[in-house]
Amino acid sequence: MTAVDDRPTTEVGTARLRKEDHRLVTGRTRWTDNIQLPGMLHLAMVRCPLAHARIVSIDTSAAKAADEVVAVMTGEDIKDIQGVNITAWPITEDQKSPNHLPMAIDHVACAGEIVAVVVARSAAEARDAAELVDVEYEELPAVLDLKEAATDAVLAHPDLGTNKSAFWQLDSAAAGTGGDVDEAIAKAREDGIVIEREIRQQRLVPAFMEPRSTVVDPTGEQVVMWSATQIPHILRFCIAATTGLPESKIRVIAPDVGGGFGGKLQSTPEEFVTLAVARTLGRPCKYTETRSETMVSGHHGRDQWQQLTLAAEKDGTVTALKVDLMCDLGAYAALVGGGVPVLGAWMYNSIYKFGAYQFNCTNYFTNKPWVDAYRGAGRPEATYAIERLMDDLAVEVGVDPLEIREKNWITHDEFPFASVAGMTYDSGNYEAATAKAKELFGYDELRAEQQRRRDENDPVQLGIGVSTFTEMCGLAPSRVLGALSYGAGGWESASIRMLSTGTVEVVTGTSPHGQGHETAWSQIVADRLGVPFEDVEVLHGDTQIAPRGLDSYGSRSLVVGGEALVMAADRVIEKAKQHAAYMLEASADDLEFSGGKFTVKGTDKGVTIQEVALATWTGHNLADGFEPTLDGDATYDPVDFSFPHGTHLCAMEVDTETGATRMRSYVAVDDIGTIVNPLIVEGQEHGGIVQGVAQALWEGAEFDDQGTLVTGSFVDYTLPTAADTISFVTDHTVSPSSTNTLGTKGVGEAGTIASTPAVVNAIVDALRPLGVTDILMPCTPERVWKAIQGAGPGAGVTGAAQAHFDEGTSNQDPSAGATEGAAQ
C-alpha cells in the first residue's frame, strides 16, 4: 500500500500526472495492428475507383492463383454473413436510407467502397494480389455537389428515386418555447435589422493518428474482435443485429486506440468484412488500412450549406433566428450521420436571448464518402454560424463585437435558463468568462494597435476575433434520445470491485482513446472511497470485462460515466458500512465514513474500508444474511444535458499584400464546471482549439469532378504542424453543473466548437475596412488575397451585410467562393 501522507486533500481538482503515460512513452503499447495470433492471415481490400458504378463482373482467378494467397472473396461470396452497416438514428419516420453493405455486391455509391477482399499470408502479399483482381464496372453518372444533389437531376442511389434523405424541423412557436420566427423577421424588415447569410461548412477528415485496424479471432466459443474503435459496445450490438451472430457469441475489444475525434464512432465495412472472412475461413484475420485508405473509407465530417436569417431591433437586441441547412450525408446514412446536423438544432441560438427560432435541416445523398460525427458534431457548425452573425450584427449596429454579445446574452442570475430551442441551460457566467478573457488577452491594447495599423495603412492588418460559445454535452438522457428516435439509450455503467488486499478495480463502460479516463476515474474513486489514487485500477474497452457500456463520444464520458462511478462507489460504501457496523459492534446509523475509514461517532473506534474488504472476502465472521461482497454496480441515466461555455479571443495578423495570415495570440477562458484534472483539461482544450483552427485555416476535403478525393493523403490534406501553431493561454471560470453531483461539464469538444469562428472573425475583422465581409474556409492565403482583391477598398460594409440570398445573391466572395466551395 502506498504512503498517503502527501496526498492532496481531494484528488478531484488535482493535476495528477497520467497513469496511462508510462506504457505510451516507452512503446509498450497494444495497438490493434500490434496483435499477432498463431496462423493469422492478412487482408487487403479491393476498392472501387469510381464514384458511382454497377459491378458487371469480378474476375478473381489470377489473384487466387497467386502464391501465398489463401482466398479471394467478393460480396456475393459473403452476402449471407457480412451484415449491414446500419444507421442508428433515423431522424424521421420517412427517412430514406439505402442499404449499406460492408462489401458492395452490384452497386457502388462512392469511390473507395470495397468490392473484393484478398486473404494472404502477409499484408504485402495480400496487397500484391489485390492488384490482380479484375473488376469490370459500368460507370454511372455521379452526383457530387450538394446543391446539385438537391435538384435530383442525378441520383446517388437510382433505386431511391430521390437524393433527399429526410427533413427535420424545430420551431419555437410549434414547440411553445418561443414566438413565430417569420413574424419576427417580417417585423424586423419593417423597423429593425435583418442579416441574411449563406455559409459553407467544408468537408473535413477526422484524421486520427492511428489508422483503423481490426483483428478477428474466430477460434473460440466467442468470436473475438479487436478493433481501433471508440465504440466496442455499440459495435457488438451492430454485429449482433445484422450478421446472424448472437450477441453472446461476440466479444469486442478496443485495446489502445490512437485517437478518434468521432472518426472511430462507426461500425465500419472493414470490421464487418474482416469478421466475415475470419468466420468463413475459421482462422484469425487482420486488416490494417493504409492512410490513403483511411482518407477515402473512414467517414468525413461537416459538409453543409447554412442559410441563416437573424432579426434584431435597431439597437441590436436580437429577436429571431431562422436556420436552413443542406447537409451532405455522402453515399449512405452512417451510424449517426443523419443525426449529426440535428445536434446543432439546440445550439444556433447559443447564449443569446432570441424570442423566436426555427431550425430546418434537409439531408441529401451524394456519391462521396459518408459523413458522420467529427469532434463537435453539429455544434461547431452552429457555433460558427451564430458567432459570425453576431459579428456582422455588431458591425451593423456600429458597436464592438463583445458589446453586442453582452447586450443579448443570458446573464449569470438568469440560470437555469429555458432556451428558445427548448433546452434548459444548467449554469454559466458569460460575464465572468469574458472579463477574464479580455484581461488575459489585453483586449483594449490590441484594439488600440488595430486602430493604429488601420490609421497607418499598415500592409499587415490586425484582426480580433471573438467567440462566446456554449455547447451541450453529456449525451444523453435516454428519454430524450428516445423522443429523437435514436437507436440506443444514453446511460453509462460502472462497477467497483473491492479486492481482498484493499486495492480497487473500477470497470467503466466508457471507452477512452486518449482522454485519460484511467487517471481521472481513479481520482474520482479515490476521493469517494478514501483509497490511494495508486490503488485504483481502471478497466475498460472489452465487452467481456466491461459488459455494459455506451462508449465515448459527444463529451459524455465524465458527465455520464463519472456519475455512474459515484453511484457505484456509494453502493460499495453502503455495503461496507453494514459490515463495518458488525465489526465495530455498533449500529450502522452511528457510523461516519470519511477518508476511507468508518468510525463510531464520538469515539476513536474505527475500521478502514480495506479492512472491511478483507474481512468480507474471508467471510469468516459476517452478520447473518450479509452477502460476502462489497462490489457495487451502477448504471446512470443522466437527468439532463450540461452546457459548458467560454469566451475565446483570437488575434490574427493578415498580410494584405499576400493574403498570408499569422496567429498572434489566442486566449480561451472556458467554464466546464468542476474540473477533475486541470492538466487533462488543458490538454483537451489545446488539442480542441487546434482542430477548430485547422478548419478555419488549413483543412478541407476536396474532390475532382470524377468524385476522386484529391486531398487523399497527408501530402494534400494539410494537418497543422507544430510550426503552424502557437502556444495558447487557457484559463477557467467554474460554474458547477446542476445536472450531476460532481458538477462537471464536458470539455472534449469545447475547443473545436469555439475556435473556428474566433479565427475567421479575426481575419474578417482585420479586413473589414477593405470591404471584406466573408471568406470561405479554409482561409488559405489564396482565398484571403482574392477576397481582398475582389472586395476592393471601397466596398461598403453595410451593403454587403444586407445581401439577400433568397434574391439570388450570395454574400460569398464571387472570385473565391462559390465555385470552389461548390466543388467540395
Binding site: T26, T29, D33, G687, P720
Partner: protein, 158 residues
C-alpha cells in the same frame, strides 16, 4: 531475399529480407518492435521516427536493406538501465501526449532536435518538430516538454 545484419536497441540481428521491405516493417513484423508505429504512407506523419546511427529517420522512408551494418534505436531502446530518458519523463510530466500514437516518433525526433541544438527557441522547437504530426495535443505541451528538457528541467518539473 537479401541478408542483412542490423543492431536494434543494442541487440544484433541477422535476417533475410525482401529488398522492398521498409525498415519500419522490418522492425514491427520481423523483430516485433511494435513500439514504433505507422501513421501514414507518404512519410508526412513521422510516427515511425527512429534513430539510425544516432540521427532521426522516418523508418517508413528507409529500406531495411539500407540499415544493413547500422545501428537502430527505437523508442523501446531509449530508456537505459530502467531509467526513462529525460525526454520520456518530460513528455509525461508536461502532459505532452494523449492517445500516445505519435509519441514514439515525436520523442525520437525531439531527442534528435536537442542533440542538434541543445538550446532551441520555441520557434526552433516548432520547426524542428514540423515533420511529426499530432492530432491530440495541439503541440502546446509537446513544445513545453522539449523546452523543459532543454532547460534541464526534465525531472524536476512538477
Amino acid at each position: 531475399m537479401t541478408r542483412i545484419k542490423v543492431s536494434v536497441d543494442g541487440v544484433g540481428y541477422h535476417d533475410d529480407v525482401e529488398p522492398r521491405m521498409l525498415l519500419v516493417q522490418y522492425l514491427r513484423e520481423v523483430l516485433g518492435k511494435v513500439g514504433t508505429v505507422i501513421g501514414c504512407d507518404t512519410s508526412n506523419c513521422g510516427a515511425c521516427t527512429v534513430h539510425l546511427d544516432g540521427r532521426s529517420v522516418k523508418s517508413c522512408n528507409v529500406l531495411a536493406v539500407q540499415a544493413d551494418g547500422h545501428e537502430v534505436t527505437t523508442i523501446e531502446g531509449l530508456a537505459t538501465g530502467g531509467e526513462l530518458h529525460p525526454m520520456q519523463t518530460a513528455f509525461h510530466e508536461n502532459h505532452a501526449l494523449q492517445c500516445g500514437y505519435c509519441t514514439p516518433g515525436m520523442i525520437m525526433q525531439a531527442v534528435d532536435l536537442l542533440n542538434e541544438n541543445p538550446n532551441p527557441s520555441e520557434e526552433e522547437i516548432r520547426v524542428g518538430l514540423e515533420g511529426n504530426l499530432c492530432r491530440c495535443t495541439g503541440y502546446h505541451n509537446i513544445v513545453k516538454a522539449v523546452a523543459a528538457v532543454a532547460a534541464g528541467q526534465g525531472s524536476e518539473a512538477r
